[in-house]
Amino acid sequence: MTAFLSSLGFGLVTASVLAIAATGFTLQFGVTDVLNLAYGAVMTAGAFVAYVLNAAGVSVWIGLVVAMIVCGAGSVLLNACVYAPFQRRGVSPITMVIVSLGMTLIIEFGVQAAAGGTSVSYSMSDGPSLRAGGLDLSVVQLVVIGLSLLVMAGTHVLLRYTRLGKAMRATAANKTLARNCGIRTGRVIAVTWAVTGALCGLAGVVFAMDAGSFGATSTDLFLVLILAAVFLGGPGQAYGAMLGAVIIGVATEVSAAYITPDYKYVIGFVILLVMLGVRPSGLLGARA
């Protein structure tokens, strides 16, 4: 029971990091139509932005905010300078995936060139441990869980109750019709890159906090879990990604405690494959 509860604690933290990352990823994909596999690399870049500031003596929490701004702006540029020009030429979606893989390598090697090949970690205090109902979590872990809940609630409010959020959903559902309504979808898409890029930066920093130490390629495997959560929930479905993140996050950590940690990424993907076999559109995706 103790083993289960402690793994459940890890699972909740992993699920929280995953939920932030997957919400941003699925929103980005749904609205912009780009399956941006460089998302993991942008997370790493965000984690390193916070690291550079942290190493210079700045609080990692300030670093987190700066990382969100840098990744938001960087994602807008990534789209404007790379993805949008390719999209305007009408290249196929699979070509865009290859382009985003290329960007993954460019960003990761860029980070490596700037930061060196060794793993680094933030200098921060985890704060006292808190026990409740058999769960044992540090203050930092609780903050990560809290941030994740905030991101999910904020996404809900954005998409359901704001003019911008509804325009994002309209653009995702039917871009031409959105333009016929007078919506400047180019701007909506640019704002989407900024918002989801900021979420990506946030996810990168909390991922690095959770991992303890990280390097330029640390998010490569995590991207697999993001994809699993996103496609489990149904691509483009914000609530689906949140649900998928909780299922994948908890399942991988609990299985790591009972089977072996080596298999946790495999477990995440097995869940996805079973799901795709049973219901290809994902848990909350529209039926074909």
Partner: protein, 256 residues
């Protein structure tokens, strides 16, 4: 960041905006699909575009709304030349377009669809216009929280029309609004709603397969074939032309 609502004095108004397409040639990048087409619709008029499948009717509407690239000719609304404007700019110029398919935002609720139709309006005005559209299409009022994807064909087309009504455009472009509708619903839609749009002062350009039904409510009609205008005239004049009745009304004598 996001689009600002239009100031009221710039909001599109129903009052008089004649639509003119002069010698329009357009296509998808290869050979032009429509050539040298000239059509016009004045405020208060329903103007019908009829013709067989593939005659270029839908392409003409798409070229007027900026979805398909115009390679020759001009499109004007009132005194404004909107040739080659982007679709979002055409909407801002007071042109409302109901496509034949993909005419609603399926995952959004009925109310959200109407709100997107009124995207360019102030928030308070959006609520007023939703109330108005619901009086025009009472059925929509009973299903404001339902996702558009779950509506029946007839309800869905009402929503598509209602979405366009939100902005009170001076020009309506309707692409086969009665396709896939039961004949009774189709007649009601044309006789009540489409005709009423024109009667309240808008210019209506409508593409229809149901030639007889649309001619019953139209003031003028163009017959397209092979991407060109082959015939044009009032419904009465066309009905008296054997070349037209044999091709489009099955040779039967037209009912008034």
């Amino acid at each position: 960041m996001s689009d600002e609502p239009l100031p009221d004095e710039h909001a599109p108004r129903r009052a008089g905006a004649p639509l003119r397409a002069e010698s329009v040639t357009a296509g998808y990048g290869g050979d032009p699909v429509i050539r040298d087409i000239t059509v016009a619709a004045d405020p208060g008029q329903v103007v019908a575009l009829v013709g067989a499948n593939g005659s270029g009717k839908s392409t003409l509407l798409k070229s007027l709304t900026g979805i398909v690239r115009v390679t020759g000719g001009t499109v004007t609304v009132g005194d404004t030349d909107i040739t080659r404007w982007a679709p979002e700019a055409v909407a801002r110029a007071g042109v409302g377009y109901v496509p034949q398919v993909d005419d609603v935002f399926a995952p959004l609720t009925v109310r959200e669809n109407l709100e997107m139709g009124g995207y360019l309006l102030r928030p308070a005005r959006v609520a007023e216009r939703v109330d108005h559209v619901v009086t025009v299409f009472p059925r929509l009022g009973q299903m404001l929280t339902r996702p558009a994807g779950k509506l029946s064909g007839g309800e869905r087309k009402m929503l598509a029309m209602g979405r366009v009504l939100m902005l009170e455009p001076g020009v309506f472009l309707l692409d086969e609004p009665t396709a896939n509708l039961a004949p009774a619903i189709a007649r009601t839609l044309l006789a009540e709603h489409v005709r009423r749009l024109a009667d309240s002062g808008a210019a209506v350009l409508i593409v229809e397969q149901r030639a007889r039904a649309v001619l019953a409510i139209a003031d003028f009609a163009y017959v397209l074939a092979g991407g060109e205008v082959r015939m044009s005239g009032t419904p009465a004049r066309l009905a008296a032309d054997p070349a037209f009745t044999e091709s489009f009304l099955g040779g039967a004598a037209p009912r008034a």
